[in-house]
């Protein structure tokens, strides 16, 4: 498989990618190409994923967890590059809300990503060079199609659940819309059925930051032995603000100064919040590819589930037998409760089976990644109830 190593002449003090990523690596669409929304096809491409727990004999206990923009397949084990715990380590594991003692949990690096699945950083076989901007523009639906290939590869007909937060939740909605017969339950968390003008605007700031960096080299930085570190770091800083709330930032930093007792009357990071954001930016560039960031944010901006269904979101779910559980967070101003409520209304209007809870939290969008006991309780209770219901409909053999 392609590991997509950083160029060797790139100086980096940060963690470097291991020669071979842990987990599973497969090549998919070897015989039949995968048709993408943009009209292009790709074939014989690498996909990396992680699994946790055991798949049972009748393959009925599989849960697909979909990762967000800057997440990856390492949902519940230490990240191979940063050494940090999995991004949903608090939620996925033995005895946890998504109990890997009962469920077989799969998390797949999305198409367009940079952790082993094909993306702009990968070497294109035709040219022997990285794809760069020749990589096709992908969509949320393309990510889901690619995930479905992995589920096929694992021999699983029907997933017990598809769960995801933020962009992962968009994939969940797309799964329920595209393959309603291949999942029992769908749990989109802190997500949206479309990207609003404000969502697109924030992403555009990030993309412009990357593309304004001279080291981006028109997207060809890998061939030129460069890396748009500054642009990508600024993109991450801007995005990171949207993941937090005013209250959370105030609580964490207030106007406290960073390693100093007085203002310096300069442009160094006087404030703790500045130092924090700079740190977020710098550590991000070590593990993420700038072009991947462009492609994935584009996929999110293009996402509008209703648009594909004559502008009526409800049509995406017509006749669906899937049990939905929509979860939003009160302090999330990026993907708001109001937006999530619109998804609930669309589901109600086709009499779909839907649960919806807004979890009280002032931590902003990132709340879905943090320790929120109410959230875990709802998620676990929903899964338990759905399993009881499923076992009545399709008794385990």
């Amino acid at each position: 498989m392609t590991t997509g190593k950083s160029p060797s002449n790139e100086p980096s003090d940060g963690p470097s990618e291991p020669e071979v990523l842990p987990g599973h690596h497969v090549r998919l669409s070897v015989d039949t190409p995968l048709a993408l929304d943009c009209g292009m096809e790709i074939s014989d491409f690498p996909v990396s994923f992680q699994t946790y727990g055991e798949l049972n004999a009748d393959k009925s206990n599989a849960i697909l967890v979909c990762h967000a923009l800057t997440g990856d397949q390492f949902v519940a084990d230490a990240h191979p590059m940063t050494g940090k715990p999995g991004w949903w380590d608090n939620l996925v594991g033995p005895g946890k809300a998504v109990d890997t003692g009962r469920y077989f949990v799969i998390c797949i690096n999305i198409i367009g990503g940079c952790m082993g699945t094909i993306g702009p950083r990968d070497i294109r076989s035709e040219t022997g060079k990285p794809w760069g901007l020749d990589f096709p523009v992908i969509t949320i639906a393309d990510m889901v199609r690619c995930q479905a290939l992995v589920i096929d590869h694992l021999g699983i007909d029907k997933l017990f659940s598809v769960i995801g937060g933020s962009m992962g939740g968009m994939q969940v909605l797309e799964w329920a819309s595209m393959y309603p017969d291949r999942l029992w339950t769908a749990i989109p968390i802190a997500s949206a059925a479309l990207h609003t003008a404000q969502n697109i605007a924030f992403h555009e700031v990030g993309r412009q930051a990357i593309m304004s960096d001279p080291d981006w080299c028109g997207g060809d930085y890998l061939n030129q032995g460069k890396k748009p570190v500054k642009g990508l770091a600024v993109a991450r800083m801007a995005a990171h603000i949207t993941y937090l709330s005013d209250q959370a930032l105030h609580r964490k930093f207030g106007r406290r100064l960073q390693d100093r007792n007085a203002l310096t009357y300069g442009f160094d990071a006087d404030f703790q919040v500045e130092s924090y954001l700079r740190h977020q930016g710098i550590t991000f560039v070590d593990r993420f590819d700038a072009n991947s960031y462009l492609y994935i944010t584009r996929a999110m901006d293009y996402f509008d589930l209703a648009a594909k269904h004559d502008g009526e979101l409800s049509k995406a779910f017509k006749g669906s037998k899937v049990r939905f559980c929509i979860i939003s967070f009160s302090g999330d101003w990026l993907y708001t409760t109001e937006g999530n409520r619109r998804i609930v209304h669309a589901l109600n209007s086709v009499a779909a089976n839907v649960s919806f809870a807004e979890i009280e939290s002032d931590k902003g969008h990132d709340a879905f990644l943090l320790d929120e006991p109410d959230f875990e309780r709802v998620l676990k209770g929903f899964l338990d109830g759905a399993e009881e219901h499923r076992n009545v409909e399709a008794p385990p053999s």
Binding site: S349, A357, E358, K380, G381, G385
Partner: protein, 209 residues
């Protein structure tokens, strides 16, 4: 499972559950912590859904494995298509609705039957409290003081039946409960029902035109 048997739910909820055919489709509006819904799902095997305003109630319901959305009958009933339920239940909630008439109309649009229970404001104790003592009634079914009550549209049994007539709603059956929560079988006349009933449970349907 939270509910162990029929007796473990409130008396008016027992009466409501008795009105519901097994294996039917039920929406419980204002389902609280999901007690009735849980009973109906496990003992009457209904396809049950719920709407609840309070975050605590919603979390408790979903955590118990019930399909419940955080919402409000005043705003969320309009989304459902026509005739998707067999029963829509509104227990002890009608009087807290901003638009009880509209809610009632929506209930019978989206469902074959509606089951409504509410405290009777014409119960003799309420009359005594208001008529003789000059105070807003406070009782087991109306536990709030006037200044913090969620009940903004209180009505009497007579008022309710009159509204049903106006909306071409058929009263299929009714149960009148006294202060002890016992069914008043003697309350066959409207006068008796309206005087001795502390709360009422109505099974409604659209009048066949």
């Amino acid at each position: 499972m939270m509910v162990s048997d029929r007796k473990s739910i409130r008396v008016d909820l027992q009466l409501i559950s008795d009105m519901i055919e097994p294996h039917s489709r039920v929406l419980d509006v204002g389902c609280g912590d999901g007690g009735l819904l849980d009973y109906l799902v496990h003992f009457r095997h209904v396809d049950g859904r719920g709407i609840e305003l309070s975050a605590e109630g919603v979390k408790a319901s979903i955590s118990a494995g019930l399909s419940v959305i955080q919402g409000d009958a005043d705003t969320d009933l309009k989304d459902y298509p026509d005739d998707v339920f067999d029963y829509v239940v509104l227990s002890q909630t009608l009087q807290a609705m901003v638009q009880p008439k509209v809610v009632l109309e929506h209930m019978l649009r989206i469902s074959k039957h509606a089951i409504v229970s509410f405290p009777n404001f014409a119960h003799w104790r309420a009359r005594l409290s208001l008529g003789i003592f000059g105070r807003m009634p406070v009782s087991k079914t109306l536990p709030h003081a006037w200044f913090d009550t969620p009940n903004i549209h209180l009505c009497t049994i007579k008022d309710f039946v009159e509204l049903c007539n106006r909306l071409d709603i058929e009263v299929e059956s009714q149960r009148i409960l006294d202060t002890n929560g016992c069914i008043r079988n003697d309350s066959t006349t409207m006068f008796a029902a309206n005087l001795f009933g502390e709360q009422a449970v109505f099974l409604l349907s659209k009048k066949k035109s």
